[in-house]
Amino acid sequence: MSAINNTKSFHLISSQKISFTFDGKKYTGFKGDTVASALLRNNIKLIGRSFKYHRPRGIYTCGIEEPNALIQILSEHSEPNTRATVKRIYEGMVIVSQNRWPSLKMDIGSINNLLSPIFSAGFYYKTFMGPKGFWKKVYEPIIRRTAGLGKPPKDFRSKSVHHYHNVDIVIVGGGLNGLIAAKKLINTDYDVLLIEQDSFLGGVLNNSKKIKDIDGQENVEWLKNTEDLIRKSKNIKILKDTLVTTYNFKDHLIAIEDKAVESAPTSYKSELALHKIRTKHTILANGHIERFISFRNNDLPGVMLASSFEKYIHRYGVVPDSNPIIFTNNSSTFSLLKSLVDLGCKPLAYIDYRNNSSIEKNILDFLKNNNIQTYTSSEIEGCDGTNILKEVSIRDDKKNIIKIKTSMLCVSGGINPDVHLFTQSKGLIKWDSKYLTFKPDKPFQNTITLGSASGNFNYQSLNEEVNDKLSFLKGAKEIKIKLNLNTADDLNIREIWETKHEKETLWSKSFIDLQNDVTTKDLSQAVSEGFDRIEHLKRFTTNSMGTDQGKISSINSLGIVSKILNKNISDVGTTIYRPPYSPLSFSAIAGRNTYEFYDPKRKTAIHSWHIKNNAVFEDVGQWKRPWYFKLNQSETMHQAVQRESRQLRETAGILDGSTLGKIEVKGKDALEFMNLMYTNAFTKMKPMTSRYVLMLGEDGMVKDDGIVSKINDQHFIATTTTGGAPKVLGDMEEYAQTEWPHLKVYMNSITEQFSTFNISGPKSRAIMRKVFSEVDFSNEKFPFMTFNTFNYLDTKVRIMRASFTGELGYEIYVPPKYALELWEKIFRNGKNLGLIPYGTETMHLLRAEKGYVVVGQDTDGTVTPVDLNLNWMIGKKKKDFIGKRSLSRSDTSKKNRKQLVGIIPIDKNKNIEEGQHIVEIKSLPSNIKEPIEYLGHITSSYHSPALKHCIAMALVKGGNQLMGKKIFVSKSNSSETVESEIVNPVFLDPNNRRLLS
């Protein structure tokens, strides 16, 4: 039979017509329809193809628990795996079905169904083991093409936002219980947030006719009045279209709000909001979820949960089928029976697994009075039909099979309290043998469960439960609600998880997980293969691992497994429910933290000049640093770096060093503190001088380097590496506060308070003289490693004589406000003297020619200052400094540690690659079977324009004793090696004539 509209009683749908497209065809629904209700209204029941077997699938439920009806929305940057049962239609919406090729009705992948023996439990682990190479070349491409859900969405810019809340009470669920709880809290001193996943409040009041009237009012009227009361209260806020997905410690909830319900995405409005909520008490009134029963072909389109069918009638005003068959093991379907009869839609048959004597008399009377074909002590054996349900087979109380033609079957296997959030909060659940379900037992956090979420399925006692459980809240009023019920008195459920097949064919499958295509047979196979622990069984079979997390079926699988193992369900236990409750869009998690906001870019004051002068940038932490400057479009990086290096050693170059970390240390005990933090001795150092410094970890390994300038014993300025700045400041704070609180010392970052320029090269003094004409830059007045402060315009600059290139050089520190102007002034003055800008790559090359190390490139956290031949930097007479004791540990003081050496190729035309191994054999076997002993590895390698051949630095075992030794360096792309020689790492100007000139 076909769908009809319920014109009698529904109120969530307006009469406004909406048209949308599904698989290229245009359909019409009403405003307020979900995709599913609109498709059902149009008699569309086939929605997609399943994950593994490509079996036809339809709409199984009416909400978030939907395992089957997943769609791809082309009109929303091709959003995949959207639940048709939740997503609302809007004018012009374009939807396609998923996982089918070439078309939904004729799908080639469904051949997988016939290959199903190889897709059974654990097939990922077993079938595709060999032969070698087959996984990558054969199996994976086939699986990728045929298995899976929707296609990835198109690239789009997230406009999602994050909201933060700090409240006293969160009520999760705006159904009847949530509303009673909220009513109780009206105008109390508590800040309350009432969160509802749907666009409307009321839950059961909208979903069914289980409640005739409430407080003597029509359901709709009561709802409207109650919502008004809550809205008018000063302390309760309602969030609709908002789903709580996560319950973290400590009473920290994450909820996602759909801000674009019933509308197409726009370029200016946010689609999703992620709410991060901190609360003191959490009231879980999030209801229950109906479960199914496994029988032959229980996945055919046309099979639907009974309560979902009921929801379509009352929420959306569509009866999905005018004459369905009902199959149940409990009394919750009584209200559906009544609703159908009310609308003149007589069910074709009513099949109840319970026996006559245990079914309530009013149900039996109703069936009899309305002349409905009734089978008690009976069950559905299976369903048949291609692409859609055509016929059901009933096994009656005498085990006879009776076939009835129908296009819809409504199933109820019982109801489960929705304990997902409760267990996320680490509350303990307990098996209820009366209702055959797990229900919340011991909360771990400040959690209260109400109504069916707490396992209370008796509407009459709800009022009392709420009053009772919330009585501890100050000022909460006693609530009296009068419900006029239209249901059976109790659930009265009889245990059944699956029914037996009459005959076995490849097409006959009884599913336990519809989304992941797991059958009941897979469960028994997994158990027989030894996966009898529920956590193992879940992973092996992939049961309840889909995006729906087995919401309608996970308890059923426990029931089936408990029968196989002959155990109680409570002993089988459940797997752990993990957040999120329902899939969370990455765009919501990302919020506005995308593209340029994902990771802020830090730019120096000279950035605009660098761009104008064709700098190519390198990322150093968050900083953008000029890597090299292109002279013209055709210049390569190698050419640019060689040119910059040559020019600097001939005339002068200037580097924007503003990104270097700068830390100011002040205080009465600053000197003692610096002596403890660094390896160097600062006591005898004269004021207004600087030192190259090393900082170690307590393990004796080099952590950072820089230059420390001493203004006086109470005032130091330290530079750090660009990336090391926060860590160095953090370490200083830690030691000052935790280990040496008696020292009076304070420190702060001044990295962004000063721009720094490094000017170096033989002509740098001449340029500095032109720029700062009043300063005496002579060797006598301004020797190496001294500094001073000078007036410049209406500010001050600090100039230090220091160099990292091995040439005469100066560092200028200037407030950023004046930086660009000064930089340009230097260029005006340096132009005729051959001044060029240079980048970090040239800096690295020039320092390598001098054998200076770069912390983090030539060191890796396993290198001591002794390994680097920097013994001269260790204040050996100091009683203590961080890492000192470790330098005399047996391991750090042994002879054969890796030490820093220079490496040059024997054939000067050959290159050495960074990161390569140093070995003693000329040719490496092409197929390495045995470990090959290696002496060390290359840490830095450059082509030196000064020496006109490759120079490299390396860490080599006992390297200091191996000067002149021939060794071989491996290559990345061949088993050949580069014959090389170990040399002193200072390649250029070992006597520092240039530096001190």
């Binding site: 410690f249 901190r278 307990k430 098996w431 011991k442 409570s570 752990i576 704070e733 935790t738 009683k879």
Partner: protein, 116 residues
């Protein structure tokens, strides 16, 4: 994510803080006078209990101050916060508060969701 009550700023989100490992591990005053083994104990060895743990935190995205906390590592419950110069509370003070999230044994792992 839990809240931490910074003794200088008040309650703030955990994300503002950094954990600094075990508290009350005193740096030896005369490192040169102790053995390699004793020094290595200080540098490398820390305890990692399930249950009550005395640890250090720093309000890194706030006041930059270090302080101590007593935390139940199996529940993430912070039982006490005290300043660096305050005496550490005695272990007995927390014995009765010790619980595990799912009522599982105090030692060993195990995720139980079902109450027997």
């Amino acid at each position: 994510m839990f809240l931490i009550n910074c003794p200088y700023c008040g309650e703030r989100d955990q994300s503002e803080f950094s954990n600094g490992g075990e508290a009350h591990v005193k740096r030896p005053e005369n490192p040169d006078s102790i053995s390699d083994k004793e020094w290595a104990e200080y540098v490398f060895v820390r305890s990692n209990p399930k249950g009550i743990f005395y640890e250090r935190w720093v309000h890194s995205h706030g006041c930059r101050k270090w302080f101590n906390a007593v935390r139940n590592t199996s529940t993430d419950e912070i039982l006490k916060i005290y300043k660096l110069d305050e005496k550490p509370p005695s272990l007995d003070e927390f014995k009765h508060t010790l619980q595990t999230p799912s009522g599982e044994p105090e030692l060993g792992s195990g995720n139980f969701t079902v109450k027997k």
